[in-house]
């Protein structure tokens, strides 16, 4: 029944259609989930589709919109990737048998958790699979910004830019790193920073004495006291009402003029316009943003045109192993909920 639809669906490529037709029998046993779409740049790359298909029959958003009646009653789970599909009460109204919303990532700030709780729908995330990968990325951004790697590359390879032996960067070894948010990722960043013999300070709403002792970290209960002591500041907090806009004009003023700011958390943790001001007035030396408001920034946005700003397209978890692992983990949680079993990585509402 649903297979003819799959075989004619425009968002599934020819190769997948062939394989789908071969798997006809086994497909019909698998539960149905709703998810967004395939797009090599903006959504799932095609390589992850077979991972999902191990567990589920997939209803792509475009097909669901075109023919809700056909699928609505069968959909038992929603996989959310990159914030899509957006979970609204209108959507939930159409899905009487929905058991779980599984978001394929760490954050849950894009979900209306109260709404889901009120409807008795389970929620899962993937808070741990990509921790190493994101920590690697945090350090990569720190060292690349400190030592001006993008500028260096341009100098050596772009024939229009002079070859410059004197691109001088900021010392890394022995400098001080302030980590804002010492969760899974923040802790791993501390481990890597220590390999560079950096002095590591941290601020978190919860003090973590065991972690402090393990790595000889210095705790600051106040963000404002942490900032003036740091050569690098990296924000690694979830987006909550408390962390929303936590880095603004006052915070940038408290930082050293020579300091570099790195955000791998969520864009709204930073008051973006105030960051622009701070950079333009040289209140801080440089900034690195893996997340911006919006993503992507509009072409004329000042952040895209400042030489002391590095922007990257939200790639913290982007190793193949990590991304595949996140999809796999999300599917496991979704399956468990559908089968009425204990849900790994459940977000307790």
């Amino acid at each position: 029944m649903g297979l003819e639809k799959l075989l004619t669906c425009p968002s599934i490529r020819a190769g997948e259609k062939y394989r789908a037709s071969q798997e006809m029998a086994s497909l019909e046993d698998k539960p149905m989930v709703l998810t967004s779409h395939v797009d090599e740049l903006n959504a799932y790359p095609q390589i992850f589709v077979p991972v999902i298909k191990k567990y589920f029959r997939i209803v792509w958003w475009a097909d669901f919109e075109n023919d809700q009646e056909r699928y609505a009653n069968e959909i038992q789970g929603i996989l959310v990737n990159g914030g899509l599909p957006k979970i609204t009460s209108e959507l939930l109204d159409t899905l009487p048998n929905l058991k779980i919303v599984s978001t394929l990532g760490v954050g849950t700030d894009h979900l209306d958790l109260q709404l889901l709780k009120s409807r008795g729908i389970k929620v899962s995330s993937v808070p741990d699979v990509s921790s190493d990968c994101v920590a690697d990325w945090g350090m990569t951004l720190l060292v690349a910004a400190a030592r001006k790697l993008p500028e260096a590359m341009k100098s050596a390879t772009d024939t229009a830019t002079p070859f410059n032996y004197n691109i001088l960067g900021k010392k890394i070894t022995g400098s001080t790193l302030g980590i804002v948010g010492l969760g899974r990722i923040g802790y791993r960043i501390a481990e890597r920073a220590l390999g560079f013999k950096m002095r590591v300070l941290y601020n978190d709403i919860t003090r973590r004495p065991e972690k402090e002792a393990a790595l000889s970290l210095e705790y600051y209960s106040s963000l404002d006291k942490l900032l003036p002591n740091s050569d690098f500041i990296i924000t690694v907090v979830p987006l909550t009402p408390q962390t929303h806009g936590m880095m603004g004009r006052e915070q940038f003023k408290l930082m050293k003029k020579s300091a570099i700011f790195i955000n791998i958390a969520r864009a709204p943790v930073v008051q973006q316009d105030e960051l622009v001001e701070a950079l333009q007035s040289r209140t801080i030396q440089a900034a690195v943003l893996d997340v911006t408001s919006p993503e992507p920034l509009p072409p004329h946005h000042p952040l895209l045109h400042m030489p002391n700003v590095i922007i990257t397209p939200h790639m913290g978890a982007n190793s193949l192993e990590s991304r595949r692992g996140v999809v796999e983990a999300g599917c496991e949680s979704c399956t468990a909920a559908i089968q009425g079993k204990a849900i790994p990585r459940e977000v307790v509402l």
Binding site: E40, L41, N42, P45, G82, D132, C133, A135, D136, W137, M139, T140, L141, V143, A144, A146, R147, L149, P150, A152, M153, S155, A156, T157, T159, F163, N164, Y165, N166, I167, L168, G169, K170, K171, I172, T173, G174, E191, R192, A193, L194, G195, F196, K197, E295, P296, L297, P299, L304, I310, I311, T312, P313, H314, M315, N318, S319, L320, S322, R323
Partner: protein
């Protein structure tokens, strides 16, 4: 001013160092020296040189004209741009700066490694360049838990390994000398006496050997074939440690995944060199020691040695004529 000894200096950017050098010496900068060497030749007692300035090699063509030269102080780790044999023969002292920039170079080696692994240059281009689409799916290579092969385990090599260990990388190393058990244990390092035996196990290979007859061209076609297809090569040593043409082939054919090189021959590469047009390479302009602190520290140390040489006092970081087996990489 007349009391200060005269040195000739060829340094990459002398404005950075003028104060430090002029505190102790009268200086003729290379660009001025070559306009009228006769004015200076008899008075020059020291040469300050690094690997970046206009004077590319200190050999007979210069030394023959400097009868009162006492010391050549190179503001670098390497000495391959000096004709050491000739200098020793003529009783001219030589000094270098082997350790001030070690941390800085180690930081840079790892920066290139992680930058290439996670494709940051492409990421920045994707986000900032309006001609390139914004791409959420630029997939990099796993770093945590991967295996790094460090070729050359001297001061810098060991520091690179310490940083890699911080990423929970498994450290393998090659050197003509083996470190102590304690040093190995500290970072979980495994010794290989043969580069060829080590290469097949590595996700990342980083070169940090001095340029010697035994290390020239040590990474060539055979070594690229021994490496994993998924491996990334990083060079913060000297360009000639790699067979550069073989590197081009290996990258074109995807015999290895990618490379990040801080050194090429020549520097810079000609505009039409194939390495400029590959998409699986990072090239940077010889900047291993490029933090302000490090560069300044190197000049201070080099000047200190030069003063000692001119005064006939014991010289810090003197490079002595070889009395031991050649090939020591520390």
């Amino acid at each position: 001013m007349a009391d200060k000894p005269l040195v000739v200096a060829s340094l990459a950017d002398h404005e950075l160092y003028v104060k430090i050098v002029e505190e102790h010496f009268r200086v003729v900068w290379w660009e001025d020296y070559i306009k009228g060497p006769e004015k200076y030749n008899n008075d020059i007692q020291g040469i300050l040189v690094d690997a970046y300035g206009r004077l590319k090699r200190v050999d007979g063509s210069l030394l023959d004209h400097l009868p009162n030269l006492k010391i050549v102080s190179t503001l670098s780790v390497g000495t391959d741009h000096l004709d050491l044999e000739l200098l020793f023969k003529r009783g001219i002292k030589v000094s270098r700066v082997p350790d001030v920039s070690s941390d800085c170079v180690a930081d840079w080696g790892i920066t290139l490694l992680v930058g290439m692994a996670r494709r940051i240059v492409e990421g920045v281009d994707s986000a900032k360049n309006p001609a390139t689409p914004f791409d959420f799916n630029i997939m990099g290579k796993k770093i945590t838990g991967s295996t790094i092969g460090v070729v050359g385990f001297g001061r810098i090599g060991y520091k690179i390994a310490e940083r890699a260990y911080g990423f929970s990388m498994k450290v393998l190393y090659y050197d003509v000398f083996r470190r102590s058990e304690e040093e190995e244990k500290k970072i979980g390092a495994t010794y290989y006496s043969s580069v060829d035996e080590m290469l097949p196990h590595c996700d990342f290979v980083i070169l940090i050997v001095p340029l010697l007859p035994t290390t020239r061209g040590m990474i060539g076609k055979k070594q690229f074939e021994l490496m994993k297809n998924s491996a990334i090569l990083v060079n913060v040593a000297r360009a000639q440690v790699i067979d550069q043409d073989a590197l081009v082939e290996a990258l074109k054919n995807k015999t290895i995944r990618s490379a990040a090189i801080d050194v090429t021959y020549p520097e810079p590469l000609p505009d039409d060199h194939p390495l400029r047009f590959l998409d699986n390479i990072i090239i940077t302009p010889h900047m291993g020691a490029n933090s302000e602190e490090s560069r300044r520290g190197v000049v201070v140390a080099g000047v200190k040695s030069c003063i000692a040489g001119v005064k006939g006092e014991p010289i810090p970081n003197e490079v002595l004529p070889p009395t031991q087996k050649p090939g020591k990489l520390h």
